[in-house]
């Protein structure tokens, strides 16, 4: 137990000293996660809405694929992205392996099934008669989609939280395609894993707590938006 307390004490010291490396890793983590989540929302929400609203041949296997993707092990995603971006791989010429872009790509692939799944579920919950009413009100296609997204916003915020939660806490894929290079691709999760393996528990604890606090604060903000009091 002793080393746990020592670790915590050390962690507090690290935060108070404003260790530049921790700040840098934290900002990078936030940056990569935000970009990956944003892209997954831009791609995933329209796909989820389309899957909820349209019926087409082959819809069922696609939905099953999305549901599988929601539970996909990040390590597998990491492996696939690494193989694709490997110097001799199909997209090797882009030289993206071990860059933040590669990490964004992997995290996007992890988040997008979650976003599609949650979006689909929340759009499906809208009363189908309301969809008819919106059409009859004279909404154009983009206006229709905007009003649908607005109606489904609580569920879509859940999609956002699920996506962001998945990418910020993910370590396997980040390590495999990012390489945990100091000053370039090291993020909170990979740094925590590294410090733990080195026995630097106080640094690992400090990083772990930062990760937790970060995830909490971001979700607190999302939750605040989601649970906003309705106009009185």
């Amino acid at each position: 137990m002793e080393f746990l307390w020592d670790g915590l004490r050390e962690a507090v010291k690290l935060w108070l000293s404003g260790d530049p490396e921790i700040i840098e890793i934290t900002l990078r983590t936030l940056g990569i996660s935000i970009v990956a989540t944003t892209v997954s929302l831009l791609v995933g929400v329209p796909i989820g809405a389309a899957l909820a609203l349209k019926s087409f041949p082959g819809r069922r296997p696609v939905v099953a694929l999305v549901n599988t993707g929601m539970g996909m092990p990040p390590v597998v995603v990491g492996l696939v992205v690494a193989l694709i971006l490997w110097r001799s791989g199909p997209l090797g010429a882009l030289e993206l392996i071990y860059t933040p872009s590669a990490m964004v790509l992997a995290q996007f692939l992890i988040a997008v099934p979650l976003v599609i799944g949650f979006s689909m579920a929340s759009v499906q919950q809208i009363n189908p008669r309301l969809l008819d009413q919106i059409v009859s009100l004279g909404a154009s296609r983009p206006q229709f989609l905007w009003l649908i997204v607005r109606e489904a916003r609580l569920g879509l915020l859940a999609a956002l939280m699920a996506g962001f939660g998945a990418v910020i806490s993910e370590v396997g894929a980040a390590l495999m395609v990012g390489g945990n290079i100091a000053g370039e691709t090291r993020v909170l999760t990979t740094a925590t894993a590294l410090e733990t393996s080195r026995g630097n528990f106080e640094v690992a604890i400090a990083l772990g707590v930062v990760l937790l606090v970060l995830a909490y604060v971001v979700n607190l903000i999302f939750t605040g938006v989601q649970q906003q009091r309705r106009p009185a």
């Binding site: 008819d132 009413q133 009859s136 004279g138 206006q143 309705r230």
Partner: protein, 355 residues
């Protein structure tokens, strides 16, 4: 028109007169909601053309939808404040931003829900929400107002007051309206014109008084509440009045043109007056007087429905008020005389009838 691969509505022609309320009535499954869905461009007719002011509606679906407004059975409001619900609809119809608020408030006020303008739409009662839906529809100032049973989900008092308000507004705006309803009272109260659908075909259309008192066929008669439909054989005719022999006696019927040799004679229960046989009150203008006995007395809302056994196994249904029932001291088995005017009876030419 098809739904689920099944033809549910065949209409050779249907027109809603401009500036009038057309009630589309009929029993469940008659195709009336399908007709409305087609006018809302929510489903596509397999054949035929829909026009609005002469222009095919489907040529420019978005433009057409922006000239119409729909209200459904349940109030379908967006998850936002009442006022923004109306403003958003006005926005979709390209009403300039600066006008939206005033126009929204004006119509909310007209429907008596301006006090709820800042409330969230999900916090309203059914009646309040439907008032907001109607305010939204009227605020759009449509060329065509399409209503799908908008009052049927409301409780009776809420419904009555809302129908009154709606009737006043619709008269005042003169908006061309198609109202789908299965409620005869609603059609009588609101419509200038009634189109009656049964089994996916248009059976009769015309002014409500005509459809309700002079049904075109027995099924229409049954739907519009004409409970007395007797097979009759023509005995003679003179000066626009035909005499038919029906089970229970001879009946005079006002006719238009030549009388059919065989007909179904129809009389609405509320057109029949009941008296005791020895009654010697003021003479009435009723030409038809049929003696009978009370076979059953059933409550029917505010009224009482009486089944009468006439001569020759004839049966008649009549309604009367509870005070009248008590004044006449009627009970099962009482003898009485049922009378009605020749103008209250209607003859449907009918091949199968024989007297």
């Amino acid at each position: 028109m098809e739904r689920g691969g099944r033809v549910v509505l065949r209409l050779p022609a249907f027109a809603a007169p401009r500036g009038q309320v057309t009630a589309v009535i009929g029993p469940n499954g008659s195709g009336k909601s399908t007709l409305l869905a087609a006018l809302q461009l929510l489903i596509k007719p397999r054949r035929g053309v829909l026009t609005l002011d002469g222009a095919p509606m489907r040529d420019d679906p978005l433009g057409t939808r922006r000239r119409t407004a729909s209200v459904f059975q349940e109030a379908l409001l967006l998850s936002m404040s009442v006022r923004r619900n109306v403003e958003t609809a006005l926005g979709l119809h390209k009403v300039p931003r600066g006008e939206r608020r005033d126009r929204a408030m004006r119509w909310l006020q007209r429907l008596g829900v301006d006090g709820l303008a800042d409330r969230h739409a999900r916090e309203l009662s059914g009646g309040e929400a439907q008032r907001v839906s109607l305010a939204r529809a009227f605020a759009l100032e449509p060329s065509l107002l399409l209503l799908d049973e908008p009052f049927s989900a409301l409780d009776a008092p809420t419904r009555t007051t809302l129908i009154d308000d709606f009737a006043a507004i619709v008269r005042e705006t003169g908006v061309t309206t198609v109202l789908v309803t299965h409620d005869r009272e609603e059609a009588l109260r609101l419509a200038d014109h009634v189109a009656l659908l049964i089994g996916g075909t248009l059976r009769q259309s015309g002014p409500p008084e005509t459809v309700f008192s002079a049904p075109a066929d027995p099924e229409v008669a049954a739907f519009v509440g004409v409970e007395n439909v007797w097979p009759g054989a023509l005995r003679g005719q003179a000066q626009g009045v035909a005499t038919y022999a029906v089970p229970g006696g001879d009946v005079d019927v006002v006719i238009d043109g030549a009388a059919a040799p065989a007909a179904l004679v129809c009389v609405r229960p509320e057109q029949i007056t009941l008296d005791l046989p020895d009654h010697d009150g003021p003479p009435t203008s009723a030409r038809n007087r049929l003696p009978g006995r009370v076979a059953a007395i059933e409550p029917a809302g505010a009224l009482v429905r009486l089944r009468l056994a006439l001569a020759d196994e004839g049966v008649m249904v009549a309604t009367l008020t509870r005070p009248s029932l008590e004044a006449l001291e009627l009970e099962v088995g009482s003898a009485l005389v049922a009378s009605f005017k020749a103008s209250a009876a209607h003859a449907i030419p009918h091949q199968g009838a024989s007297g």
